[in-house]
Symmetry: C2
Subunit: 198 residues, 2 copies
DNA sequence: ACACAGTATTATACCGAGTACACATCCCTC
DNA sequence: GAGGGATGTGTACTCGGTATAATACTGTGT
């Protein structure tokens, strides 16, 4: 979703060949965000098909890619367009907790704890990694920070979830099919409360 | 990635037909996480192909899906396996900032501000939505909380990024191709600092 | 000089999640 | 009994991503 534009940006600095793009991408983000070799070429080809990139003549074994005017425009457009904040991504962990709530015989509290511990451990690893990356590596630093803040948010959410569930009558969560008819229920139609944005 | 297991879990409560699954999924997560009709059937079919689900005989116009023993096992396995914390997801916003850093003529600080404002606005919308959802709706509450914590993490990251860039010699970030040879550079091979986990 | 190994570079076949849209059926009403 | 709307299912397609094939270059030992 975003590798495309990253490559476009690297090409905006001048024509490069495929693997060079991968090198430069990974030079910024280090071992944290590896980039599959194949993906470079697939996205490059897709970019070419869309007219955002042109490929120069083959020079020996390697091929040079150039950004087009169209590509530059697309890049600028993307840069200044904030990402969609409605329709939040379907988070795996959140779904897992939802599932655990409905399933009988699953100790939700323990599940929360297990995952919390896991997240905290990951945070420690990244904190350590952060400590030993030279302060000049701005790109890598930003990536690590992003991961740290993300993990911290998850931990906080887990805590909030635990609190929420603790102050709740036992089992009151399971299967609130209140507005579901026994077999053929009608879809809940709530007014879209998020209309104000797009 | 996770809708699959959500459907599996709903089927663990008993055989259901396709649209029923969609109803129940959306009953928990409300308008925040809509579920495309087609996706229900595509994932259902994929689950069937993997042997996690069986489809009963067609009863009139609708078709009943049952979970298999294999499916139950898979569900349990998934429930207790924490998600991968190495290889963090490639975040669009982070990439955007990275790109902005390298591109000449882009006001990075302003870009940070624009996106920060956008995130805060989204948070306000979700806070409002949260305020008006009945406390009984645990599922929806959890989803909204998750989104709020996520957005808050992003805002904090943006602030940290701004601070980091402010205390940096001007333009010292652009294109740190330190270890890239002029044309054919060798890939940076840093010791994998994240080995301790898997 | 030749075989062999390794690696750099590109290309392609494939997969899974997700979307749009078409198709079929039932039921209600006029 | 002919629309019309809700209900229910299926399919063709896009898109990001991965694994792996295919090809050419480079060095090394004997």
């Amino acid at each position: 979703m975003s590798v495309r534009h990253a490559l476009l940006a690297l090409l905006a600095e001048g024509p490069k060949y495929g693997l060079r793009l991968r090198q430069e991408f990974q030079a910024q983000t280090g071992e944290v965000w590896p980039l599959n070799v194949g993906q470079v070429y697939t996205t490059l080809h897709r970019l070419e098909k869309e007219g955002n990139v042109e490929s120069d003549e083959v020079d020996g074994t390697q091929k040079r890619f150039r950004i087009t005017a169209e590509g530059s425009r697309e890049l600028q457009r993307w840069l200044h367009t904030p990402p969609d904040t409605d329709a939040p991504p379907r988070d795996e962990l959140v779904i897992k907790v939802q599932v655990a709530l409905r399933m009988p015989g699953v100790d939700v509290m323990e599940l929360l704890q297990v995952h919390r511990r896991h997240m905290v451990e990951a945070m420690q690893r990244y904190t350590h990694l952060k400590a030993e990356t030279p302060p000049g590596e701005v790109g890598l630093g930003l990536v690590i920070d992003a991961q740290l803040f993300r993990l911290e948010g998850i931990v906080r959410w887990l805590d909030a979830a635990e609190a929420r569930l603790r102050h709740l009558p036992d089992q009151s969560w399971a299967a609130s099919d209140v507005d579901l008819a026994p077999d053929t229920g009608s879809l809940r139609q709530r007014a879209n409360a998020l209309g104000g944005n797009r």
